[in-house]
Symmetry: D2
Subunit: 306 residues, 4 copies
């Protein structure tokens, strides 16, 4: 069955009662003050159709969802071995910002979606782009067709003020020889990427290349090759949901990436890209109602990768 | 493209030069003396066709591949929450027999495919079946249509003599209240399951329900529900390959389960079940040439879940 | 200043108000039902004088204090390298029954006073003594001059029923080749040693060799050499108080060994042996009021090793 | 027996053959180029007599020995609870610069002699002294009576260039709220303290207050109280030798502090202060021949705290 506006609206109605059972991220004020009542879903089909429900046109902080975009850029700029000698491809089995594993594994982060790994990717971009922050913004504006996408400067500045742990991570990797640039500017770019403000519709359109063998449905351009697309989806499926990747695969069964802003993107290869948003998080840091909405959608339309 | 005998034979020719670069499991003599030259692949389509190449009719020790069978039995016998309160669904991010995580997580194994998790599953089967060993053998004989499948008694006895670490794991779980039966008989059943001798053809036929929404292609009977099938495939995709699940997803892109006997099964949902065998292992404990054969097959026939 | 009966009584009066702030060990009923009001101190000088206050003639479960006795026996029976290749000499920095470190350090326990290390010592005794349990009892009866000392059979049996974690520890060491005998009889001896019932006077007399260059003040016999005495005191000072060795050295400044029965022995080399008893424990598992009593005694008589 | 020049010279002759079995610290060039042939010992008695042998008047980089001096200053400036709520008193049981424990224990270092703890002490000094670096230099010049003591600026600068791991440690503590000042200036002071150049005679005189109930034998002034002296010696005995504190207590039996420059100071309370120097280190990072020299001295003069 194909998703329809009615199905999406129905799903939002079903998950709305979950609001109140999770916890909005509150480590920075700009995230803490987002209303927990926000709820949105958008589907972008490989035929270019947008189907949506709820607050799908309201922009929110994408946070870690941006890690999939940064990795895409790095895959375009670098040969595979240049990336994968500096960051692994395995689930971490640890909290997303743990330093323990990083020390035991000599400064090589487990995968590009934990903080350490995303900081390595930011370091890679810094080494090869003259203006990585500008490049990323241009990239998402093109892919989404939305030229109004901006960085939330307050969020970026606020993250920077709470960056001690990420600075520790970067310095630890530097001590192992796995960091090339100055720590502060790299972190600044990293936090800007996290501070992208995008709507569910923007996100679904932006990531359409992952559902379409690497070709953006919006721009018709090949962003990455079919093999790279398969690889990126595989990484999302095994590592994209922090400590909750197994549970997410079990319940939703789609490659996905979440952010502490409450957004999640999910891919049905060959068919569609989905974005959901609900700010309250489960204990693993993934949107509680958002995950449930994806689970219901998977059941309702009979789609998953398994 | 559909797999043909010619494609399979070609793939085996391509991966044969890898023999010599891995290491046959040698912790027990019965495994150590298997020839490293063995090489096999078998595909069982959802239409019931068998395509095969190499030593596909020679039986070998399935080892941890049996964990997927035991879990299937447990899913039939128990309600989901009865299983998942005793074992998790997340990748471990640790070596497959690590006790560190088990202690830190209070005796709840990360997933049913690491040793600790499989021992919990064996404990579950012991609590509810009068003769779990007999039941499992009957199960694989039916699913494969091969009534000659047996337990390798020498392998089982030999494993039992090297069972100290697994005994430690079982006692540690017991100390946390996550073990119901006597340790020795449960371990004995666990090692018998690992000591199943099956061919690649047997394995491909046995696991056909995972490619066919829960219905065995061989027997036409529903083994588990479509939802359970999706769940089991999800668990295999995120946790089925020890520490190498991410790499396997990245390269092969199919749910799978490996064993230190050098076998791997892999699933293309809706289409086919695949089994490969090559005794030499990579550092993660997965068949080296077997993984490569699956990677090439995925490329050649253009199939993966991503 | 020399300790007098008056000083000891005064110290007990000062620490008695601490009762209620700790927690009596309750993992087995036989320990849980000991009155938290018990309070005792005994000093045995190198001149053979006994000074005491409180319940110093009442027997209690010595628990881990016995580990120092077992190690003494092992030091008599084995050459140093035979012991120290199987167990380390360093503080563990971990909870006393942690398996994490044991796995990371390949089955070699950090020191002979954590559970794993004491179980290795029990294994050593088992390999060389025909009746280790009998030998230990004889040993403490001689050293204390108290022929009524017995094992508390209820405590030993009760510990054996809660031995899963220690069994896990023993099997893990076995898997690393650091365990020679069958697990169950060794654990049984280990728990019997813990179940010794002794009074503070017994304990102070028994350990007098540690204050007297290896010669028992009671029997005048050399138990261990002066160098071994220095070594054993050093081990007690750095590893004798579980996770609280540093704090104990900082406050009390004497080599010591504690047990979860609430007893502690402490040594002033060249001068005296001290035993205290108060069943309530601090979070590290050491007697709360007992530690304070030793701290006050150190201050009052101006004695410590520092 | 009292130490004499002849005994000291004899001891150096005995340990000299060990040169070649250790490894000179080589993480910075200024340390790597020190001759491994250097060998020195100096004793400073509580009567004010200096006895020495070998290169006892040649200055070397004291490195971590300075941590005992910085802690002494902190103990003078702060109330005990102000220090001990920010840093623990227990052996770490881990390599001296491990971040794992620091993360698991929420940014509170185990003790003031591991790097993390010493950096907290440097942060404490920074908060309360206008010129901590100047103050420390003045302090050692007074205590040693040697006005020529200086910081080795090349060493300090070189350490600063290899400070990534220590920066990571500082930022991690900051993320837990256990760091008050800017990271860079604190690290700069910390590295200057490590870069103090002192001779064995300087060191033995400087630390004489630890052997003399807090009163400097050189200046006759009380540096810390008798209770503080006992406490500091206790901390040195349990935590002063990195991962080798237990072994050092077992063999030498004196409170001590080592540095990767190859120096060690050791205390015989009530009698004397000892300093040794030999640049080659054992695997724990302690001077190999230096430790042996202290062990022989302890045997020869029959002195230890046990």
């Amino acid at each position: 069955m194909k998703p329809t506006q009615a199905i999406l609206a129905e799903i939002l109605d079903e998950v709305r009662p979950l609001i109140g059972q999770g916890k909005v991220a509150d480590y920075i004020p700009a995230l803490a003050r987002v209303s927990n009542q926000k709820l949105a879903i958008a589907v972008y089909t490989n035929e270019g159709e947008v189907i949506k429900a709820g607050d799908a046109e309201e922009a929110f902080s994408v946070q870690s969802i941006s890690k999939a975009l940064s990795l895409t850029l790095a895959m375009v700029l670098y040969k595979p071995e240049e990336i994968w000698q500096r960051v692994g491809k395995e689930p971490s089995g640890q909290a997303f910002n743990s330093m323990i594993q990083l020390e035991m594994e000599h400064g090589i982060p487990r995968n590009p979606f934990i903080n350490a790994g995303a900081i390595v990717v930011a370091d890679l971009l810094q080494s090869r782009l003259s203006a990585p922050r500008h490049r990323l913004l241009e990239f998402v504006r093109q892919l989404s067709g939305d030229t109004h996408i901006v960085y939330d400067k307050i969020v970026a500045a606020s993250e920077m003020m709470h960056s001690d742990r990420n600075a520790a991570i970067a310095y630890l990797m530097r001590s192992f020889g796995n960091f090339e640039n100055d720590v502060i500017p790299v972190l600044n770019n990293y936090f800007h990427a996290c501070a992208l403000k995008m709507t569910c519709v923007d996100l679904a359109k932006t990531f359409s290349y992952l559902a379409n063998k690497g070709v953006s449905v919006q721009t018709k351009k090949e962003i990455i090759t079919p093999v790279q697309t398969k690889q990126l989806n595989a990484l999302l499926a095994t590592c994209g949901l922090y400590d909750g990747a197994g549970e997410f695969a079990y319940r939703v069964g789609m490659p996905g990436k979440s952010g502490v802003g409450g957004g999640i993107i999910a891919i049905v290869p060959g068919e569609m890209t989905i974005a959901v948003w609900s700010p309250e998080l489960d204990p693993s840091g993934n949107s509680l109602a958002g995950t449930k909405a994806l689970e219901l959608l998977s059941e309702r339309i009979g789609r998953s990768i398994f």
